[in-house]
């Protein structure tokens, strides 16, 4: 078993291509738990400052009453092949976070929206923003308690049938792995070259 202590576990010398998947969800929904369940390193935490590229100066003052603001996030990684490594980011879904989306997450393969059925409304904004950024996603319900079934959740979130919705337990590695596999299958369809309909 690889060590998961605080000691650094460097990437292979052959690592050359890093990929990104973002796990979006409200506070306490289990993002960091999910990252930690599948990551080969203990999740790391860092932050980004909002730049002028992210928002106009007037907007920054409206958001925080000062000229800069920061967004904290955490992440882990999975070595996929000799050259490829996947970074998993846990990202808070609140409004100011989306100002740094382009700084941090442009080029992501896709996203997982992690949902707590007791606070479904927390997910509406994230889903709206992902659609705005044309970022493909799946929805994973972290099962804390017996709540509404997946069909009821789908209705409550107004999810189209094309968006996969699955149950998961963010504490369990195999469950989180299944969520990522569901996302990758969805991406295969999403990114498939559009069928030409030329007459």
């Amino acid at each position: 078993m690889p060590s998961r202590t605080s000691e650094r576990a460097p990437l292979r010398a052959t690592a050359a291509d890093a990929l990104k998947i973002v796990i979006v969800g409200g506070l306490g929904v289990g993002k960091t738990t999910m990252v930690g369940a599948v990551s080969e390193i203990r999740p790391l935490s860092t932050e980004e400052v909002m730049t002028e590229a992210g928002v106009g100066i007037d907007d920054i003052r409206r958001v925080r009453g000062k000229a800069t603001t920061t967004v904290a996030f955490d992440f882990g990684r999975i070595t996929l092949t000799e050259s490829k490594v996947l970074y998993l980011f846990g990202a808070p879904g609140q409004q100011r976070f989306w100002y740094v989306w382009d700084q941090l997450f442009s080029g992501s393969l896709g996203a997982v929206v992690l949902v707590d059925t007791r606070r479904l409304q927390d997910s509406w904004y994230s889903i709206d923003r992902l659609e705005h950024h044309r970022m493909p996603f799946v929805v994973a319900v972290n099962r804390f308690t017996d709540g509404p079934g997946v069909d009821a959740v789908r209705d409550a979130l107004s999810l189209p049938p094309s968006v996969p919705l699955v149950d998961c337990d963010a504490r369990l590695r195999h469950s989180c792995k299944d969520v990522l596999v569901t996302l990758l299958r969805h991406l295969t369809t999403w990114y498939a070259p559009a069928q030409e309909t030329m007459s």
Binding site: L19, V49, T51, I78, T81, Y87, S108
Partner: protein
């Protein structure tokens, strides 16, 4: 999780670290660009540059440097610009940035198979 040291206690430190510069050319580094040092630290170098060169003896993503140095991602990018300009590091960019059409079917298949096997 740490509480916003940038806001609460460290603006002077950030100013010192970056020499007052506020942003790097954003296009130079992605948040997961992998950085590799091409030389050992030299005497007299800025301490953050020394730390980066030590951390990147093996490929290390920009966000990992940010976490290790406890500096915001965009500040790390500014420091990396200095090291890149002087040839002390090389950068392995994410292939996703080179493809305007999104990831290829081959790449997605490779990731899917690898995830099934973790």
């Amino acid at each position: 999780m740490r509480q916003r040291p940038v806001d609460d206690e460290a603006p002077d430190r950030l100013y010192m670290v970056t020499g007052g510069r506020t942003r790097a050319d954003e296009s130079t580094f992605d948040s997961v660009s992998l950085i590799v040092s091409e030389c050992e630290p030299a005497p007299g170098m800025q301490s953050e540059h020394v730390k980066i060169l030590r951390l990147t003896r093996r490929p290390t993503a920009v966000v990992e440097l940010s976490a290790q140095l406890r500096l915001p991602v965009s500040v790390v990018k500014i420091l990396l610009c200095d090291l890149l300009d002087t040839g002390r590091i090389t950068v392995r960019h994410p292939s996703a940035l080179r493809s305007a059409d999104g990831p290829s079917p081959e790449l997605l298949k490779e990731v899917l198979v690898a995830l099934q096997n973790i």
